[in-house]
């Protein structure tokens, strides 16, 4: 648990910043990005694996991995970041695996969303909640 004054102030600032961008507006921004990627097509739920920590050890650098065998393109969004774009990765026909891993910054607890465009033009979606906590008291 982070109880220092500095931590308190930093957290306060974070909350204030978040308040300027209401959650609804952020969700809409992420939805717009998804619509742009899929052209509004329906998305399936299988065929894509998104691996994230349940609780981030450090919200500034959260390891994520997306695997979607047979995908030609993968879109990753951090749904509640001020700018939700994380990555849009294309795989050529010679790619040995359709998989990406990277580290991303999360401004707070939110869903990380990954969408794969498959070779046949269909879309598959996966989303995980990643908690960004101020620290606990595990006993």
């Amino acid at each position: 648990m982070e109880f220092t004054r500095r931590g308190a102030m930093a957290l306060g600032a974070g909350l204030a910043a978040a308040l300027m961008l209401p959650a609804q507006a952020l969700r809409a921004a992420a939805d717009d990005k998804i619509a742009e990627f899929t052209g509004g097509a329906a998305m399936g739920e299988g065929g894509i694996t998104l691996t994230t920590p349940e609780i981030a050890e450090n919200g500034n650098t959260v390891p994520i991995e997306v695997s979607a065998p047979g995908a030609v393109e993968i879109l990753v969004l951090a749904s509640a970041n001020p700018t939700p774009d994380v990555a849009r990765v294309s795989f050529g026909p010679l790619a040995g695996a359709q998989r990406l891993s990277t580290r991303i910054r999360l401004g707070g607890t939110q869903d990380v969303i990954a969408i794969a465009k498959m070779a046949d033009g269909s879309f598959q979606r996966a989303a995980n909640t990643v908690k960004v906590t101020i620290g606990g008291c595990g006993g």
Partner: protein, 563 residues
């Protein structure tokens, strides 16, 4: 106390029989039996493999009082399920008569009077006697330690855990996993691990920079003609719940997909039996048992639950062996043809007056304690009240600590972390320095004093409450709620994060806590680096000495709903 006779020859394939494993007549015989070592150790050897499990000893070398929790709320799928059943409901569930030794060992009901009758529990010299007896019966038994071993007492703190390392080396476990061990600092952990004769396992401990495994994930043992894989799982949220600056470069996490891979790997190497030696916490293990196929036994730890019978998830056995040396689990298994065919289980309560100390371990404990004996034995005061820690929202030990913080550090509000370790003291007991350290000894003890707004305090309470009451166990951290002095609040455990905590009230004025106002807050065990203030034990020692006799009034300042 011999559990589940019906299962003696039961095959796993007979799922109807296994499915009947709820709670039963665990103590029907025990209730009438005299409390003798022979009775406590009685066990009809079964199958070809024996596992011995101890966990969460927290540095406790000598017998102690330990009151089990009165309030231990489960949420989501765990609501109303063991281990979230306490008191009279617990006794009824397992068929334990009130007033029996088992009722004393496993529940809080009539704790003080039963404690006086049945005496202290645990003591590593008694634990050694139990383990030696099991080994005499089954020399190849595997001894597995679930961690939180190198932490939690005066001698452990002062010796940098050397006392516990020496004691465990004498017990000769086959493997252990970890949590508080890492609060010694990673350099000390490395120094100890390099000299261990047994495996220090953690499949979920990774190098943070390269995301590669940093510790041995599992070890294979051949026992009774069977290949046994023991996989270790350290506490997943060490860098969040404990100071990550003490072990920079390490990353943990639940890592379910990693566990599934490791289970497949050991099955591929010919494991007939897969044992997960876990410090996940019970509810996390229950979810993992359901999601990761191929684990036969999970030896659970971290949440300090003591259950007299295994909990079954599909065909996986979940074993909960308590804490602080109060219990030793013996689990006999019939492993044949590449699978577990049946089991016999006993949670052995370590009654220190009934079980003779092992002379060799007793001598070692004496040697480890000798350099500190006088300073530990100093009486700081007396308690009029039962002092205990366990409970989701408060315990009298932390009420005392919060009172000391408010008084000694002139604070409006005090915060004490929701740890689950720390033995109890009975009304009338002297409070020695050793007792105080058993409730506070750790490597980041500084008692800070700072200002926080009402909004910040609300955010903290919401954050910690979600670590405890998030309906998905993988988001839980396994501690209890942060203890609050000087402030009351209401909590609805069914609500989502951000709306569980309401009606925060400053107790000294009875006024509502103002989100915009600053309050003077004192607390301890901050995970932040460079936290300033005296160690918490100095604050409490000064308070107890001034009071002479301490009394802790019943705490009614937290109102709980939704449970």
């Amino acid at each position: 106390m011999i559990s589940r006779r019906d299962f003696l020859q039961a095959a796993l394939a007979a799922s109807a029989v296994w499915g009947a494993s709820g709670a039963g007549n665990w103590a029907r015989l025990a209730a009438q039996q005299a409390l003798t070592q022979d009775r406590l150790l009685e066990f009809d050897t079964f199958g070809n493999v024996t596992l011995i499990h101890v966990t969460d000893i927290h540095g406790q070398l000598v017998p102690l009082w330990f009151r089990e929790p009165e309030i231990n709320i489960g949420v989501g799928a765990a609501a109303g399920q063991p281990p979230h059943v306490t008191g009279a409901d617990f006794l009824k569930l397992y068929g334990i008569a009130p007033g029996t030794p088992e009722a004393y060992a496993l529940s809080y009901v009539d704790f003080v009077s039963l404690a006086k009758g049945y005496g202290r529990m645990g003591g590593l010299d008694r634990v050694a006697t139990v383990i030696n007896a099991i080994r005499a019966d089954r020399p190849e038994a595997l001894l597995l330690d679930g961690g939180d071993t190198w932490h939690g007492s005066y001698t452990c703190l002062r010796s940098d855990a050397q006392d516990m390392v020496n004691a465990m080396n004498l017990l000769k476990p086959d493997a252990m996993t970890s949590h508080w061990e890492f609060t010694l600092g990673v350099d000390r952990v490395t120094e100890i691990v390099d000299g261990l004769d047994f495996a220090f396992l953690g499949a979920n401990i990774f190098d943070a920079e390269w995301d590669e495994p940093a510790y041995e994930p599992y070890r294979m043992f051949e026992r009774g003609g069977a290949q046994i894989a023991v996989i270790g799982q350290a506490f997943p949220y060490l860098p969040i719940a404990n100071p990550k600056w003490m072990f920079p470069g390490l990353s943990f996490g639940v890592r379910e997909e990693r566990m599934a891979e490791v289970v497949q790997e050991v099955r591929g190497k010919g494991a007939d039996l897969v044992v997960l030696l876990s410090h996940n916490g019970f509810d996390v293990d229950r979810k993992m048992a359901g999601n990761v196929p191929g684990i036969d036994v999970i030896l659970t730890g971290h949440t300090h639950d003591a259950l007299p019978e295994p909990v079954m998830v599909g065909q996986t056995l979940l074993i909960a062996s308590g804490s602080n040396g109060k219990f030793v689990t013996r689990l006999d298994l019939d492993v044949r043809e590449g699978r577990m065919m049946g089991f016999r289980h006993k949670l052995i309560p370590v009654f220190s007056d009934a079980i003779a100390p092992d002379p060799e371990m007793a001598a070692l404990i004496d040697r480890e304690r000798a350099p500190y004996r006088d300073e530990m034995a100093e009486v700081l005061g007396t308690t009029d009240s039962l002092l205990y820690r366990r409970g989701n929202f408060n315990g009298t030990w932390d009420d005392l600590i919060c009172n000391a913080l408010i008084d000694e550090r002139e604070a409006d509000i005090a915060l004490s972390p929701g740890f689950r370790w720390g033995p109890s003291l009975l009304p009338g007991d002297p409070i020695t320095r050793e007792d105080l350290y058993s409730a506070t000894a750790m490597t980041y003890p500084n008692a800070y004093r700072s200002e926080m707004t009402g909004e910040m305090l609300h955010t903290i309470l919401e954050d910690v409450a979600d670590n405890l009451f998030n309906p998905d166990p993988y988001y839980q951290q396994g501690g209890d709620m942060v203890r609050v002095g000087g402030m009351g609040y209401r909590i609805d455990v069914t609500k989502p994060q951000g709306s569980r905590i309401t009606d925060m009230t400053l107790l000294k004025t009875g006024e509502a806590v103002d989100p915009a106002r600053s309050y003077v807050v004192s607390g301890w065990a901050s995970v932040g680096e460079g936290t300033e203030g005296p160690p918490i034990w100095e604050v409490v020692e000064s308070y107890v000495k001034r009071q002479g006799t301490v009394r802790v009034d019943p705490n009614t300042s937290v109102v709980v709903s939704g449970a």
